[in-house]
């Protein structure tokens, strides 16, 4: 196998007003012909800017390749002119990006964007290009390709758009495909389809793939080799399987242990202390040493370089021996630890806090001037659900399933179209404004984007104290004492109260949001994708914090997420939603080990795992998610269900208890 691309001692600097800022430092990376290499790292690790540098798109992002060479088939890409690069881009190197929804020009049809790409690099006539465009769409498995060609990007779903992006990237048979987080913005079942497609195309076209991801699960699923990046440097790289089973760098080990601990039911998740340092404040010596358990004096002084430790495996660490041994111990211990059946440990179902009864929410579509539209989006359809005191109820489902709407209905950010919601015995829809304000003290919300959910011009103390201003009359001194006490509770340094949001990291900001939510001592918190945007090492810290707070303050959580591993770990019971319906409801472990609904099964199958022997798969057909305006008759899932029968097409299944505390809405449960 020949080498197609070789990065040799490449450094990339951002041009800032304060001078160059090193984003990537002396990295070496090789991609062989027909090989899939995964670049894994958390946000700010420099993986995306590395991928852009191969296309020399860094020039447009205010960055320069300041040293090293990028050898691609005998050319040093770093020394080519932009004009020469332009001929390579899209022709010999194709690229797809993270969010397909905004990666295409919204004002041009799919056909025109495909044809443009073909005409730029191939000597064909326009009609020929059109024919090729159609063939490409067929090749990437898009349904009704003729119709799609005439459509605009906003008319296609995310999964379809990513297929279009792949078609564009493949339009000139490139030798290298760079995929920058190609599935991060997509639902898990769609993610699996896209990954499978990339692998199939790689095999048939014999191209190489550089896959950038933050998700170890995806990397294991896809990679021949994995390179792990941390704060602008590659800390470890080698063949995928060995790297996962026997990692040698403490950072890689930490990440893998964090991910695996979601399945372990130990007290608390494994976490890497601290957070990724900003580029301006990189530590001396090894850039990981302030967070490393094995850090020695040498690590503080001297920067380790990648060195071969075993066949094809390189690590940049001074203490691989100790670290390797520690991981081996952990690995043997993990295998002997038996999974706990937590059915017995479930909170008692006698202390009802929230009772959602047959709640429906429809959003009418705007009609025209003369006709009122009869169509509506059925966001939540006749859902009944109970949440007991001190439990965590997880709610999972793909985008558009209605989980967020259900949460918003519960805290009355939306009014239900039908049905009742009772909170601690009180029907929330019948409350007066005063009673409602009183009740709202007891239910709080934490959203996905912490920075977006606070006023960036307020100090941290003001953000946290805001609920106090609304609900409790306190003097300045008492209020401040309360703020500091709460900050301590969520693991924030109380001295930071004068800081502004932009001075804090994402994980710290989410702690601020949690502090704001608990400062009124509520009994219920709605966590809407509260940890989804966080890096894995930070995510585990926040999940641990939420668990601790629940124990100390007796909180009840509704935990809404699309992340299956997190929800399994944190929840007592889990509800699965699909197109506005509650499909299944069961204790967490029961749901994951014995799912009853075919949709749940499909979700679990598609979830990439950390086990290199177990491949995620797509057990449902490639058919797109139906639109919530034109819902299927009968069971909502029948169009994609492998076990659908005539009955499923006509008769809507009711949610019924099929095992102890295990409810499913399916005619033919597993």
């Amino acid at each position: 196998m020949g080498t197609l691309l070789k990065l040799n001692q490449v450094s990339i600097d951002f041009n800032t007003r304060q001078g160059p800022l090193r984003a990537v430092h002396h990295i070496n990376l090789e991609i062989g012909t027909g090989e899939i290499v995964c670049l894994v790292g958390e946000s700010g690790s420099g993986k995306t800017i590395t991928s852009l540098s191969i296309m020399r798109l860094t020039d447009y992002e205010g960055a320069v390749i300041s040293s090293g060479e990028l050898m691609f088939d005998g050319h040093n890409l770093a020394s080519l002119s932009q004009k020469e690069m332009q001929e390579l881009r899209g022709k010999r190197i194709g690229m797809i990006f993270q969010n397909p929804m905004n990666a295409l020009d919204p004002l041009f049809t799919i056909e025109s964007q495909l044809v443009d790409s073909i005409l730029t690099h191939r000597r064909v006539t326009k009609p020929e290009a059109r024919k090729l465009a159609l063939e490409l769409l067929q090749k990437v498995g898009i349904t009704e390709p003729e119709m799609r060609l005439k459509q605009y990007p906003f008319e296609l779903s995310g999964g379809m758009l990513q297929r279009v992006m792949i078609a564009i990237a493949l339009s000139c048979d490139p030798e290298l495909l760079i995929a920058d987080e190609p599935t991060t913005a997509l639902d898990v079942t769609i993610q699996m389809q896209i990954l499978q497609l990339i692998r199939e195309l790689k095999d048939t076209l014999g191209m190489s793939v550089l896959l950038i991801t933050h998700d170890f699960g995806v990397a294991i699923e896809m990679a021949d080799r994995i390179a792990v990046m941390y704060a602008g440097a590659i800390v470890e790289q080698g063949p995928a399987r060995k790297l996962i089973t026997a990692p040698e760098h403490p950072y890689t080990q930490g990440l893998i242990r964090s991910v695996q601990s979601y399945h372990s039911h130990s007290e608390g998740l494994y976490t890497i202390p601290g957070s990724i340092p900003p580029l301006q404040e990189l530590p001396t010596g090894c850039r990981f040493h302030p967070r490393c358990a094995f850090a020695s004096e040498r690590c503080r002084q001297e920067e380790p370089v990648l060195a071969l430790t075993r066949e094809q495996h390189q690590v940049a660490c001074w203490n691989t021996a100790e670290a390797g041994q520690a991981f081996a111990e952990y690995a043997t211990h993990k295998e002997t630890a038996a999974p706990i059946n937590n059915l017995a440990a479930l909170p008692a179902e006698d202390d009802l806090l929230v009772d959602i009864q047959q709640v429906t929410k429809t959003f009418p579509l705007r009609g025209s001037l003369f006709r009122r539209s009869k169509k509506a989006v059925h966001a939540v359809d006749n859902v009944s659900l109970r949440i007991y005191r001190r439990e965590t109820l997880g709610l999972v489902g793909e985008s558009g399933c209605g989980k967020t709407t259900l949460g918003r209905l519960l805290v009355q950010l939306e009014k239900p179209t039908a049905g009742t919601i009772t909170f601690d015995g009180q029907d929330v829809s019948s409350l007066s404004d005063r009673e409602w304000k009183e009740l709202r003290r007891r239910m709080q919300v934490v959203f996905q984007d912490p920075a977006g959910s606070m006023n960036e011009r307020w100090r941290i103390s003001e953000v946290i104290a805001e609920p106090l201003h609304v609900h409790i009359d306190l003097n300045e001194q008492d209020r401040m004492a309360r703020v500091k006490e709460t900050m301590k509770l969520v693991g924030l340094n109380p001295d930071w109260h004068t800081k502004y949001p932009h001075e804090l990291s994402g994980g710290q900001l989410q702690r601020v949001c949690i502090a704001r939510a608990i400062i009124l001592k509520p009994s219920f918190i709605l966590l809407d994708e509260a940890v989804s945007a966080l890096d894995i090492s930070i995510q585990s810290q926040i999940v641990n914090l939420l668990k601790d707070l629940q124990r100390e303050l007796g909180l009840t959580y509704l935990f809404i997420t699309h992340g299956l591993d997190v929800v399994r770990y944190i929840s007592d019971r889990i509800g699965v939603m699909y197109l506005g319906k509650l499909m299944e409801l069961a204790p967490a472990e029961e749901l994951f080990t014995r799912p009853a609904h075919h949709y749940t099964r499909a979700l679990l199958d598609a979830n990439p795992s950390m086990d290199p022997d177990h491949h995620a798969q797509s057990s449902i057909s490639d058919i797109e998610l139906p639109s919530p305006i034109h819902l299927p008759t009968g069971c909502r899932f029948h169009t994609r269900c492998p076990a659908a029968t005539e009955r499923c097409r006509t008769e809507q299944p009711e949610l019924r208890e099929i095992r102890d505390r295990h409810w499913a809405a399916c005619h033919h449960p597993l």
Partner: protein
Amino acid sequence: MFEYLLKRLSVSLLVVLGSMTIVFIIVNVLPGDIAQMLLGDTISTEKANELSSNLGLDRPLAVQYWDYITDVLQGNLGSSYVNQSSVQHTLLINLPSTIELTLTSSLIAVIVGILMGIAAAVYRDSWIDSVIRIISLFGVCTPTFWIGLLLIFVFSVHLHWFPAIGSGGLSHLVLPSVGLGLSGAGMLARLVRNSMLEVLHKPFVRTLRAKGIRESTIIFKHMLRNAVIPAVTMAGMIIGEMLAGSVVTETVFSRQGIGKIIVDAINAKDIPMIQGAVLLTSVFYILINLLADISYMYIDPRIRKMLRPSTQ
């Protein structure tokens, strides 16, 4: 689509009616007896009253308003108090010259403005950007009449390139159009620069580059089209304002046109003429903005689809 236009047109009619009403009220609350003013101070009150009743000014306001509206709906704008000529006729004679001026100055504003905006965005933070930003700032904050006077001073008085005043051939049109167009160009340049910069950071631009599309194609075919949508709204307003701005410009350059008619009519208290000219201006303004809205649909498929009945 058709439904949308119908809706927009009916709203536009209401706006025209509203502007007619406002002008009617303003003209009538002005202090002083109109007939007295038309005839001058030396004329006796009897003579003035006689004129008032001839012109129908002694009737109750509501009746006058009703008559005015029904006349306009029948296509009759009345006749001038000053020389009894038909208002329609006077406006029609003078309209071409104003349209000429508005058209050329709009073209200058749109073309120069957009080009400056693109150049400033593409060469952001360079000297080109700085020069363009200074020019556009100058255009935005300098009053039209002052730009006009400067242009006359430099290009007619000193350089003798163009005639200073009067209407006529193309040479008469250059200075007024530039003077009137510059402020619009300044506003558009600033807007286009900002929205180009916004588009520049959109992920699809990165995709286009990754496809190997030429940079000039990316700028003019993709980025400009995305960036121009807010500029279209503003261009609509700017062109409308050109018409209003022609009041000043036509006076400064002593050109014929609607602007000059309005100024003269106000000085002479020639109410039918004022009302007719304002009506014409507001209809024009509304049509331009309607045109801007329609061009959105051409530019942005999302707006087109939103207005089309669902095909699903």
